[in-house]
Amino acid sequence: MSRAPREGPQPSPHGSGRLLKIEDLHLSFGGIKALQGVNFEAGAGEITGVIGPNGAGKTSLFNAISGFYKPDRGRVSFDGQDITTLSPDRRAGLGLARTFQNIALFRGMTVLDNIKLGGHTRLNTNVWQALRYFGAAQKAELELRREIEEQVIDFLEIDHIRKYPITMLPYGLQKRVELGRALAMRPRVLLLDEPVAGMNREETADMARFILDVQEQFGTTILLVEHDMHMVMDICSRIVVLNFGQQIASGTPEEVSNNPAVIEAYLGAAA
């Protein structure tokens, strides 16, 4: 009944870490073509940005990577393994974490409990142990608690709100808690869907700092969807540009911001 718990990020057995590979992804809903041939690799330990106008297919891409949509064509590979048909929970077990555009925290729980849920795949308490609690389950829980406090809550500076129910938190803090929950999974690949949407400059700067810290301290590969161009250009080492489901550019921030197709589709006047 219990699987071996998953360890944190480890060097890829496949060498030079092309951890997440998207190959020729096609996805349509009825008549709507959400993705038409998306192709890129997220470099291990790098921050890759995905940008594009609204409706370009960015969230559909994320949903396909997460496993909520089955693509019509193409492959999603994680660390060399083809995960295109794996269910979302199995992908999480491999080390894929994600935050959502519209905050998907559990509103019936506190911050601490939400973050503890991030540790779900790394525990292996089974139902009998759970019913008993005293013994294996308690030990595991206390260990998890300690680890979360020291590595996530301290790291994200949310210790003053850790007992608060989610519903009491302002938007910016909720986003941070969601990041914390994803971090508690000790992911190898982290998908961030608009992590600074709706934040002011201060909050955005804070979040950007946290994201950079995550990359530095944990070596996590990060894939980032964002509209805030300053932040994207600042922290991403590579950027992929989507428009109407098609990939129109891919490269470093300098290359992308000078790409005429991108400018035309998206950036408009100043870059």
Partner: protein, 356 residues
């Protein structure tokens, strides 16, 4: 009055009974229960036994509906399965297994059977949402009761007229008085309440709540909806089966009509009235759901005497009162008595400071 609740270790912070008042309440209640078992009057023991049996089942429903957010209008079927299974197993194994060991064999078997059927009934939950699940469980309830009543199986189940039950024999100690049975019920009830509380403190309970709140978010955290929804069904069915087994031991005879739709609706109503998703909810709910019809009975007896005509009026009146109670809570206090108690405790906590 509690000003602050500060702990100096994670272990202390993780405790459930984390202040003196809570500890006093829990230990005091256990003591009171023990004293009641020994000295309470017979009539009250009877009432309390009903509450105890119902409590175990409602705790099961709390796991399914309160924690995991899955609606079932048919869990009475599992109570029936538990009751009949423990009786039938008891009859089948009568010669083979010594009487003193029988409950230790037949009860787990009955509970396991209930859990297995629970998994079966829970299969639709994987593909359909709330409403459809409610009707699917309703359908399952009707089917199970029908199978019990059906003549085909009457040689084992006694069909419509029911079947006599056995007296439990725990390693030589025969529990043939209601009082002794209550002791067993109270003990089992406490343990099951504790076990359900424990679930929440572990990843299993958290996973349930995650599924309730936002199932796709639970999925990307690695929670297999398939596994956990079925687990929730199995657990809740097991609890109901256990309640059924105790029910069979408590009463001299069981009949299919005791487990019909009304029982399933009672379980859900008790949960709503008491408060979903919290540990004490089932306790409050069960007290109300058993006390109110009892009070009506007593009132009726006082006012109308013992005439047959009064008896005819009493049952429908209890039904109406029950429905009105449920509706009132849904309209006025959907979070149940738990919420009311919370408010009182918060006010007591703040006293003598003003609100706010």
């Amino acid at each position: 009055m509690i000003n602050a609740n500060l702990k100096s270790s994670y272990a202390a912070d993780e405790r459930v009974l984390n202040n003196r008042y809570k500890q006093a309440f829990v230990y005091g209640s256990i003591l009171a229960l023990a004293l009641f078992t020994l000295f309470g009057n017979d009539y009250l023991i009877l009432i309390a036994s009903q509450m105890g049996i119902l409590l175990i089942a409602v705790v099961g429903i709390n796991i399914l509906t309160g924690y995991t957010g899955l609606v079932s209008l048919g869990h009475g079927a599992f109570v029936a399965i538990g009751a009949y299974a423990v009786t039938i197993f008891g009859n089948l194994g009568a010669g083979v297994i010594p009487a003193g060991l029988m409950p230790f064999v037949s009860v787990p078997l009955a509970v396991a059977l209930a859990a297995a059927v629970g998994v079966l009934v829970g299969l639709p939950s994987l593909r359909v949402k709330g409403l459809y699940l409610a009707v699917a469980t309703l359908a399952a309830n009707f089917i199970v009761i029908f199978l019990i009543e059906e003549d085909l199986f009457a040689p084992w189940t006694g069909g419509m007229v029911g079947i006599n039950t056995n007296v439990p024999n725990l390693l030589g100690w025969e529990l043939d008085t209601k009082r002794e049975m209550f002791g067993l019920i109270a003990a089992v009830g406490l343990v099951s309440l504790l076990a359900a509380q424990n679930l929440i403190r572990t990843r299993v309970g958290r996973a349930f709540i995650a599924i309730r709140d936002r199932d796709y978010s639970a999925e990307i955290l690695g929670i297999s909806l398939l596994r956990y929804k079925l687990m929730s069904f199995a657990l809740s069915a097991a609890y109901c089966g256990l309640a059924g087994a105790l029910f069979a031991y408590f009463y001299a005879r069981i009949l299919p009509e005791q487990f019909e739709l009304a029982l399933s609706l009672n379980l859900v109503a008790a949960l709503i009235i008491g408060g979903m998703g919290r540990t004490m909810g089932p306790v409050f709910g069960v007290i109300i759901v058993v006390m109110v019809p009892e009070l009506i009975k007593v009132l009726f007896g006082a006012l109308a005497g013992d005439s047959a005509g009064a008896g005819q009026l009493r049952a429908p009146l209890q039904q109406i009162a029950f429905g009105v109670l449920l509706v009132l809570f849904l309209l006025k206090e959907p979070l149940g008595i738990n919420q009311i108690v919370d408010r009182i405790l918060r006010a007591a906590n703040r006293w003598p400071f003003a609100r706010g």
